[in-house]
Point group: C2
Chain length 62, copies 2
């Protein structure tokens, strides 16, 4: 499986916000993360960077 | 390997712009895509959505 972990970047420090993310969908005012288990989380932010071989999604707050 | 293919979304239609993308990095005026083979492409756009289990990165022009 090729899910990734989502990290919030705050002042260059990364903090894990969700594991095993499959879908990232744009939504009014931010993005919705949906894991392979169906867990959902809405984040006021945007995708800043990806490192897929390392299974990492970096998000920054808007 | 967990790379993904990058598609540009134009009026809801997807067009493949790069295969086997590993890294997406923010850059002045857009994003840089880097494949697992080291190919690079600069795009005036942003990550719109992800569908990682399907190996898809959706990009929209800025």
């Amino acid at each position: 499986m090729c899910e990734a972990n989502a990290y919030m970047l705050i002042e260059e420090k990364e903090s894990l916000i969700m594991e095993a993310v499959d879908l990232v969908q744009p939504e009014e005012g931010g993005i919705r993360l949906i894991s392979i288990f169906g867990d959902q989380k809405f984040i006021k932010g945007h995708v800043h960077a990806l490192s897929l071989v390392d299974h990492k999604i970096y998000i920054k707050e808007d």
